[in-house]
Amino acid sequence: MYAQPVTNTKEVKWQKVLYERQPFPDNYVDRRFLEELRKNIHARKYQYWAVVFESSVVIQQLCSVCVFVVIWWYMDEGLLAPHWLLGTGLASSLIGYVLFDLIDGGEGRKKSGQTRWADLKSALVFITFTYGFSPVLKTLTESVSTDTIYAMSVFMLLGHLIFFDYGANAAIVSSTLSLNMAIFASVCLASRLPRSLHAFIMVTFAIQIFALWPMLQKKLKACTPRSYVGVTLLFAFSAVGGLLSISAVGAVLFALLLMSISCLCPFYLIRLQLFKENIHGPWDEAEIKEDLSRFLS
């Protein structure tokens, strides 16, 4: 049906233009077909151990929740003396405070301009108010059934994990919301402890493990990655050990969860990357990269 292209002394080359009549049929496919096709030009190549390292933030947060629940369970069962927890918590906070400055040699403090005196005042105000309000926290939810308290705590802790800032740019990340959910869960659980002193210590511990501990870990991760890995492993083993003393099945499941998140998910991500095919070419819609609002301001 279609006439063969007429070849003169030299062969006619196909051109990607529409305004010229060319001696090729309309459905001709040249060697240069799709020569401007590009694949995965913006794709980031992930390395397995780098992804494992990044997943440790998730591990840390899961272990924080686990440790918090274990400590609460011990206090509820009366196996843990509140004074011991308070002392240990304060001592740990002090050590963390010193380490926080030592890790980066005081640069962070110079940059933020926060003085030690201001830190001390904040801590005292917080402790005073929490201690003063602990009887209210203790009796706040007396009329609410314990099952509801437990359900609310579970959902709040899950929300804390969901909205936590793990370092990726995601729309749902909200540090304030995440921390508030955790504190709310701690208040719910604290209201089921025997005395108001327990409630005070529980809320203080929640602040330490959900607010101060992640800050220290973030700085540790940025400045000394190796010790961060060590701390993460130690923290994970502590959490699993604590859970093991309560429930062997729970500890096994939690360990499996940590293993899957830290080893299996990165492997799956690396594997799925092989099938990634972002296609780019001259058909793409152009992007306006420059900021054009300056013409209107």
């Binding site: 049906m1 279609y2 990607k16 233009v17 529409l18 305004y19 049929p25 309309d26 459905n27 496919v29 077909f33 799709l34 401007e36 096709l37 972002n278 296609i279 070419g281 001259p282 058909w283 793409d284 819609e285 152009a286 992007e287 306006i288 990269k289 420059e290 054009l292 013409f295 209107l296």
Partner: protein
């Protein structure tokens, strides 16, 4: 009685044609086709797809084919209309869902379309536009009925967002067993081949066209000062944000420069703000919505045509502007580099800085007098794209598909399953089976044999064709009368 009369007319027309065979246009061709154009987009709606379908149909009728058009009802326009040269248009009473696209349940249009295909004795279904649900429905039903199918794609689409993924999957389903696909540029062909995972050899590149008699230069209407014309819809995809950056820069640099902007859209407010901010009311004219017949009178007032589109498969606007003798400055996106030769267009990257440089180059050429005269530009451009050439090339596509075998049902199901993926393929294979069963039911309810055959308006036995032929060959007609 009416049928018998119609048959008689047909017979007489045939006898008449055979007598005048020495000079007849139709005996030069071995076959003519019964073509049904299907799309959601047609007059009274205005756009590139609409004019493409109309002009292509007119030129195919001129070449002796029978052409009908099927679209959905537009407001009160419902039923059957006859346009110039007997072009028959079916405005089906189907509900419009969004942006003049009909909703689709994939089955509800089968009874209507089947009636049309049978009574018009359609042999080729030619669907237009990826965004037309009715077009894809018609392809689906035509394959079920064993008719040849052709599809024309008029736009580019991406790959990166969810709507693209879904739309491309539907396109794959629709085109995997279509006989042939037509794209309006090579870039569009590459895009469609990738989107629908097609064999590139079943995709032909046939560009759009412009009626050069509609777009001619007019030296007396051209403004004395340098004028840049922009005619497009004022939406994001046309790059109006870039235009809002270009206007203040160039108006500041060239005190005698003017802008004429035609078109309507949500981005008009930005242009109004720019004009207000820089006090350019006497130098930037916003004309608002333009009728298509008024576009030429706007273009001839300018010296330079600016196109800031972010994506275009072909871009008729720059061909129209060049046909009016304007120097064209455009973004280098999509199929635009293929449309005009380098001496008629200045291509720029889609940024304010690059477009300003291109416009300054055009202004410099204009002031130094190195640009060719508008009449010369027009004489060059009018040979590039004509609807007759488009119809000729489309006819070759029809000739090619008419000798191809339509896939039987079992091969069609195999194609769907192997080509569209395990999940989608099985789903649509199931839908194809349901459609086939529905067709069998319809054929049992109303057999093809008792459906009235419509009188042809166009084609070799068309009523209008005879009138046209008789009026054209008055002498021969008289001669025939004398003989009788």
């Amino acid at each position: 009685m009416a049928c018998r009369g119609g048959a008689g007319n047909g017979h007489r027309a045939s006898a008449t044609l055979s007598r005048v065979s020495p000079g007849s246009l139709y005996t030069c061709r071995t076959r003519t086709h019964n073509i049904c154009m299907v799309s959601d987009f047609f007059y009274p709606n205005m756009g590139g797809v609409e004019s493409h379908i109309y002009q292509l149909s007119q030129c195919l009728i001129e070449r002796g084919h029978k052409v009908i058009i099927v679209t959905h009802a537009y407001g009160n326009r419902k039923g059957i209309r006859y346009l110039t040269s007997g072009l028959k248009v079916y405005y089906l009473p189907l509900k419009v869902m969004y942006n003049q696209s009909t909703a689709t349940t994939l089955f509800h249009s089968l009874p209507l379309l089947r009636y049309i295909f049978v009574r018009e004795r359609v042999t080729i279904i030619h669907s237009h536009s990826s965004f037309s649900a009715m077009a894809h429905d018609a392809l689906f039903h035509a394959k079920t009925m064993g008719l040849q199918t052709v599809f024309t794609d008029h736009s580019l689409f991406g790959f990166a967002d969810v709507s693209s993924v879904l739309t491309n999957k539907l396109l794959t389903v629709s085109l995997c067993d279509t006989n042939h696909i037509i794209c309006v540029s090579y870039t569009s062909k590459e895009n469609t081949v990738l989107r629908a995972a097609l064999n590139p050899e079943i995709v032909s590149v046939i560009p759009n066209a412009v009626d050069p008699t509609d777009f001619t230069p007019d030296p007396f209407r051209r403004h004395d000062s340098i004028t840049i014309v922009v005619v497009s819809r004022l939406v994001y995809r046309k790059g109006i944000d870039l235009l809002s950056g270009i206007i203040p820069e160039l108006c500041q640099k060239y005190p005698d420069l003017n802008f004429i902007i035609g078109g309507e859209g949500p981005k008009r407010i930005i242009l109004e703000e720019v004009r207000e901010r820089y006090q350019l009311h006497d130098r930037v004219r916003l004309l608002g919505a333009l009728e298509h017949k008024d576009v030429r009178n706007v273009l001839v007032q300018g010296h330079i045509f600016l196109n800031t589109s972010l994506t275009e498969a072909f871009c008729m606007a720059i061909v129209e502007a060049a046909s009016c003798g304007l120097q064209v400055v455009s973004t280098r996106v999509g199929g635009i580099p293929e449309v005009l030769p380098e001496n008629l267009i200045i291509l720029c990257e889609p940024s304010v800085k690059s477009l300003c440089e291109g416009l300054e180059k055009a202004i410099f050429q204009l002031k130094s007098g190195t640009l060719p005269a508008p009449e010369n530009i027009h004489n060059i451009v009018k040979t590039f794209y004509t609807w007759r050439n488009v119809a000729e090339r489309t006819e070759k596509v029809y000739d090619r598909v008419s000798v191809e075998a339509v896939l039987p049902m079992d091969k069609r199901l195999d194609r769907l399953i192997s080509h569209c993926g395990p999940v989608t393929g099985y789903i649509f294979a199931l839908l194809a089976v349901f459609n086939f069963l529905f067709l069998i039911f319809l054929r049992w309810m109303t057999p093809d044999s008792i459906i009235d055959v419509a009188i042809d308006a166009t084609g070799p036995r068309g009523a209008w064709t005879n009138n046209y032929s008789h009026s054209k060959r008055g002498g021969e007609n008289n001669e025939i009368s004398e003989t009788r």
